[in-house]
């Protein structure tokens, strides 16, 4: 899918809520979401990532939102992507800034209210000299 076509169906809103909000509803289940992150990142300032969600993206059954959560960033909720059936495919790719090595989690909320998630560990090699990285 071309970036332009992909963007037309997605509205990116500035992050407002805290991480608690994402977990306020039903506990997300593992599955349906595929989060791709490099195992190693040379630079935490710009880490490429991709999230794909299995969904027909129809009026009746689609992904409403995808949240990106950081374990270590000062702002735990890094981004929220709002999608609709017109997005065509439930797929986003972006670059995120990461404050060191950590687990990143993507949570998708479906039109039926169910939540699905995937997480991945990324080693930000630049931060290797800091204790606890």
């Amino acid at each position: 899918m071309k970036r332009r076509g992909f963007l037309s169906g997605v509205v990116v809103l500035p992050v407002a809520g805290r991480v608690g909000k994402a977990f306020a509803q039903t506990e997300p289940k593992r599955g349906r979401v595929k989060l791709e992150l490099p195992v190693l990142a040379d630079n935490g300032n710009s880490v490429p990532m991709k999230v794909r969600v299995e969904s027909p993206m129809s009026e009746a059954d689609h992904v409403k939102s995808i949240r990106l959560l950081s374990e270590r960033n000062p702002e735990r909720e890094m981004a929220v992507f709002h999608l609709g059936p017109r997005a065509g495919a439930a797929e986003i790719s972006t670059r995120v800034r990461l404050a060191g090595s950590q687990v990143v989690t993507a949570i998708a909320e479906m039109s039926d209210g169910s939540q699905w998630m995937d997480s991945a560990h990324v080693q930000v090699t630049l931060s290797a000299c800091v204790d606890g990285s």
């Binding site: 195992v39 190693l40 040379d42 630079n43 404050a99 060191g100 090699t125």
Partner: protein, 711 residues
């Protein structure tokens, strides 16, 4: 007379008792094929030789041996049959980081990986035993392991090598019991470092030794002013010089590639480069000091790192003792300057470099070349010194790959000159600290105020957000000072002059304990008390600082009469999870020449995995710190570093080295580091002895600037 050839034959025979080998990294890849891998850490050959993988780096800190000792201990193999090889970064990426952290930084190898290394060895042992038991149709619990031999009921015996193939197919046990360190037979022993024979016989390969067929060579010049850029180069000026292959202006540096390195370097010297020096061309050591001094006095952009009691109130109405301390920028000056050989070809990148963090080099190479992580191969070598220069910053890898990319298909070895290395380092941060204290009627401090004005490595090099605005390295050993003082306030003014800073061996503990322990000495002196007794009374009775202080003072004979003109100094601190103390005995001639008579260094690292290596690290710490404290200083003029090579950057010479007496006092129950903590107590112990000898309080380093020289 014995000729060299005969001598080598004899020593080979005599030294044959320890046949521990060391893989030349360039050849390592092929040798794994026939060797069953029991798990990520242990491979066993049919001839019973055991290969233990080592994930971090070896730069003289000895962890390659110590880490292998921990694996071998639990494995129960014959140490004489152990070989060590580097874990491969490409496999690491493909195998979900099975070897964990690969960085040799922060004195971490033992303290952060001891548990999984020991488990790796124990798990492999149980798989080997399970394979033998299965073959004999007995229970694994009926079998015993010693020296790589498995014994079963009825006198059955087999060796690791014979069951290795079967063991490799066993399911790894989930839970394994680890030995109590008091039962160790391989770990805890002063085993000689495994790579030493290869260093002595010149078989070892450093990054600088990389050699590939058809290789080209690159020399580089970076903008002399920090933050500057290349405007233009006049490549025509060096056209027609022999062997020149390419002139590459690459943003903030210029590379010349030639058929040999000297030609590249000489052409670069002759190449007219027009630099845009940017905004920092007027920065000098003086302007940097002004910035830091302003940080000491500032009311804004200051954070409180620690606050207990009411310092302001306690300082009122009591006579206040105040002092300011200063430590300069320091360069790493590794014996092997920065460099990286690289080949970029058909979407694959191979690099050969001395790195403290092979994973970081791997990631930097992939990012620079724009290839997936799976297409990068890091060929690991021994480091010709690291000291923190080759860990956090991977500038040399980026440059090596950038140049090789411009020479696609041709391997290129990029090598810095010594001058380039000294003038484009990531320096130990400059630092200024102000202390204020008030003493109670008993002479003990009732209040301690301190403010650190210094750059932040974490904010500037790593560009990571600081928790509560505090760089823990900048305030190390001050914010967490161990003395029982009722009112304590510690502030941090982050001030970042335009000079790149990085992790220099011992990092914050390379300067802050000097400042803190010297100031405590000032307080003891003001109170008219003995420097050792004063500290001891202020330390909690059960503290590890007090234990190592006691052990070191006792070994040094603190309080016993000294020859005329000889004086003592003492210091203690925590650092990298270990506890160190130092006692220095010295005399000073009327020409201010300092003769160090004794240097007693105490350390409690919790567990001592290799006592001989601990001694080596403490000796090395003395070389490094005495060099820094007598002569070490990087000064800035017109935005550039003034020092360039060993003619103007003095290091300690062999004959100047005092004898180091080690007090190794491991008390168990915790795991501390050893590569860095040794330095922390040395400078204050020496400077406190200098005060005892001369009455002159040293509040700024290096000592050369205070008129002192090492005799």
């Amino acid at each position: 007379m014995t000729t060299r050839r005969e001598f080598l034959k004899i020593s080979a025979a005599v030294g044959g008792g320890l046949t521990v080998g060391f893989h030349v990294p360039f050849a390592a890849a092929q040798q794994q094929v026939l060797t069953p891998e029991i798990n990520a850490w242990v491979l066993v050959r049919p001839d019973d030789r055991v290969i233990i993988r080592y994930a971090r780096s070896e730069m003289g800190q000895g962890s390659m041996t110590s880490a292998a000792q921990l694996v071998a201990e639990e494995l129960g193999c014959d140490w004489k049959k152990v070989q060590v090889e580097y874990a491969d970064t490409n496999a690491q990426v493909r195998r979900k980081r099975v070897w964990g952290d690969m960085a040799s930084v922060g004195s971490r190898t033992i303290r952060f990986s001891q548990e999984y290394l020991r488990k790796g060895g124990a798990q492999a042992r149980e798989m080997l035993v399970a394979a033998a038991a299965q073959g004999w149709r007995v229970k694994p619990s009926q079998c015993r392991v010693a020296n790589g031999v498995i014994s079963g009921p009825g006198g059955r015996k087999t060796t690791f090598g014979k069951v290795a193939t079967a063991a490799a197919k066993m399911t790894p046990p989930q839970e394994v019991a680890l030995k109590d360190p008091k039962d160790w037979t391989i770990a805890g022993k002063p085993i000689p470092r495994i790579e030493i024979p290869d260093i002595v016989t010149a078989r070892i390969r450093y990054g600088i030794d990389a050699h590939l067929p058809g290789m080209a060579y690159a020399a580089i010049a970076q903008c002399p002013v920090f933050g500057g850029k290349v405007k233009s180069v006049d490549a025509a000026a060096i056209q027609g010089r022999r062997g020149i292959l390419k002139v590459l202006p690459l943003g903030d540096y210029v590379a010349v590639v030639a058929d040999n390195w000297w030609r590249a370097k000489e052409a670069l010297k002759a190449l007219p480069i027009d630099w845009d020096f940017g905004p920092n061309a007027s920065v000098s050591s003086e302007t940097i000091k002004q910035l830091l001094r302003a940080g000491l006095d500032a009311d804004s952009d200051v954070v409180v790192a620690k606050n207990a009691g009411d310092v302001a109130q306690a300082l009122k109405g009591a006579p206040v003792i105040e002092a300011e301390y200063y430590t300069p920028y320091l360069a790493h000056v590794t014996m092997e300057p920065m460099g990286c050989a690289a080949l970029v070809k058909e979407g694959r990148v191979d690099i050969w470099t001395s790195t403290q963090n092979a994973e970081a080099s791997h990631a930097a190479a992939a990012a620079t070349a724009g290839v997936p992580l799976e297409n990068v191969y890091v060929h690991r070598t021994q480091l010709g010194g690291g000291f923190g220069r080759r860990g956090g910053a991977q500038d040399f890898v980026r440059q090596g790959v950038q140049i090789a990319k411009a020479m696609e298909g041709t391997p290129v070895k990029m090598l810095w000159t010594r001058e380039e290395d000294m003038q484009h380092d990531f320096y130990r941060p400059v630092s200024m600290v102000r202390f204020r204290a008030a003493l109670g009627a008993d002479g003990n401090p009732v209040a301690l105020y301190s403010r650190v004005s210094a750059p932040s490595i974490i904010a500037t090099l790593l560009k990571l957000p600081l928790k509560d605005g505090i760089d823990p390295q900048a305030v190390a050993a001050i914010a967490d000072q161990p003395y029982q003082i009722a009112n304590v306030r510690m502030e941090y003014a982050q001030r970042n002059p335009p000079v790149p800073v990085g992790f220099w061996r011992t990092v914050g503990h390379s300067q802050n304990p000097f400042m803190r322990e010297s100031f405590i000495d000032e307080l003891a002196h003001a109170a008219g008390k003995d420097a050792y007794a004063y500290r001891r009374a202020l330390l909690p009775e059960s503290s590890r600082e007090r234990r190592i202080l006691d052990a070191t003072a006792k070994a040094a004979g603190w309080g016993s009469p000294l020859p005329k003109g000889v004086h003592r100094g003492i210091a203690v601190t925590e650092g990298y999870g270990s506890y160190t103390s130092a006692v220095c005995e010295l005399s000073v001639s009327d020409k201010q020449e300092v003769s160090i008579r004794r240097l007693v260094l105490g350390v409690d690292p919790g567990h001592a995995v290799n006592p001989d290596n601990i001694l080596a690290q403490m000796q090395g710490s003395a070389v490094f710190m005495l060099t820094a404290m007598f002569w070490g200083e990087i000064t800035i003029k017109d935005g550039r570093v003034e020092q360039s090579n060993f003619n103007d950057h003095r290091v300690m010479r062999l004959a100047e080295m005092p004898k180091v007496e080690l007090v190794l006092a491991p008390t168990g129950g915790f795991w501390g580091g050893i590569g860095e903590p040794g330095q922390a107590s040395i400078a204050p112990a020496v400077c406190n002895a200098l005060f005892a000898a001369t009455g002159k309080r040293i509040r700024a380093l290096p000592l050369r600037n205070e008129g002192f020289e090492l005799a």
